[in-house]
Amino acid sequence: MKRKLSLLLVLTLLCTLFVTPVSAAEAANYTEDQAVVAATSGSNYFSKITPKLNSLNGSSAMATLSSGSCSGNERSITSVSVNCRVSSGSSRYTLYVISPDGTTLSKSCGTSSTSYTFTGFNGEDPKGDWIIIIVSNGVVTTVTATLKVNYNYSF
């Protein structure tokens, strides 16, 4: 009798383990596409440098930087930073950044080389051309800017 009870218990446990892990409805809804989405998401970044930008007496100096190829199909910027290397003797200046969507934001900048972080682009797709503009507040400002854009992506 004890043997029969033990055998019944073992069979019940085996059924629990191997027969009913996923319902039919759940299995039907789990498509290959969802497996792809789950497997291919992540984060990436690109970094590009402008040529030397010279702004004289309030005139604008501008450079266009391409993102190059971006990962994923749906992307969301998590941070944008512009590292500005300022030449000695430069005046203070205003820095403008234009995203591929056309969103434009600015920062007031000093005369020392500094990295400026922008949060207003977060959520946008970084793919395409970015524009960097400087406008001197004084006689002359010379800056070389490095744009770095971090983003999340998914397929």
């Binding site: 190059g68 591929p100 434009t104 006689v139």
Partner: protein, 218 residues
């Protein structure tokens, strides 16, 4: 307000060629004038001389005024910025005020869909920032609607754009599970992916769209 630099008098009333009552000047002054005055006060004698030779503050203000249109909107050098797309100093305006879903016309959405499809085929599914025309699509859209709608509509259009691309990727992947972006594929696979079919599968969630399900007919 006026200050004296190298013997010349400056001030809003001292300009000979600037209409200080224009919206263009007021916007430029609001954006730059305090910083310009502060910079003038810190100039060395040599810098002041150079500044004067280049026309001083009047020339400076004329230069920065070219970044604004007659309505006082920031447009950048050569009009590179569409009015309504400049949000000022980063962080002063919360991006949630423009990152909103609004109604975007069928025509604008179709143009974006067509561009996504053209680029997806051309680049074999790779998102190539060097060749994309997406900024042109956004600019055309922005110029076709009222200034107040431009930033929100652009955000909305961008949300659609990502979903169009994902649908095309899913369709190609469903036809050939081994396919990877960059590999050629039969573009007729995308015949079954239409703007309407993608959008009918979307539902708004906050300031984004999410898919109701992920079933595509190929």
């Amino acid at each position: 307000m006026s200050i004296r630099i190298a013997g010349n008098s400056y001030g809003q009333q001292g300009y000979s060629s600037i209409n200080v009552n224009s919206k263009q000047y007021k916007a430029a002054a609001n954006e730059y004038l305090d910083a310009v005055i502060a910079e003038e006060a810190m100039m060395t004698p040599e810098q002041k001389m150079m500044y004067e030779l280049m026309g001083g503050r009047e020339a400076h203000m004329r230069n920065v005024m070219s970044n604004f249109n007659s309505d006082g909107d920031f447009i950048g050098p050569g009009g590179v910025v569409v009015p309504g797309m400049y949000h000022g100093k980063d962080g002063t305006v919360d991006r949630s005020t423009w990152q909103q879903i609004i109604n975007v016309s069928d025509d604008a959405r179709q143009k974006m869909f067509d561009n996504v499809k053209r680029e997806f085929i051309q680049e074999n599914g790779i998102s190539n920032g060097d060749t994309t025309k997406r900024s042109k699509i956004f600019r055309e859209y922005q110029l076709s609607v009222k200034k107040e709608e431009r930033a929100k509509g652009t955000w909305t259009l961008q949300q659609y754009e990502g979903k169009y691309r994902s649908a095309m990727y899913a369709a190609v992947k469903a036809a050939n599970p081994d396919w990877e972006p960059g590999q050629p594929f039969d573009s007729s696979i995308l015949d079954g992916v239409t703007r309407e079919s993608v959008e009918s599968n979307l539902v708004q969630s906050g300031n984004q769209f999410v898919r109701k399900s992920i079933d595509y007919s190929v």
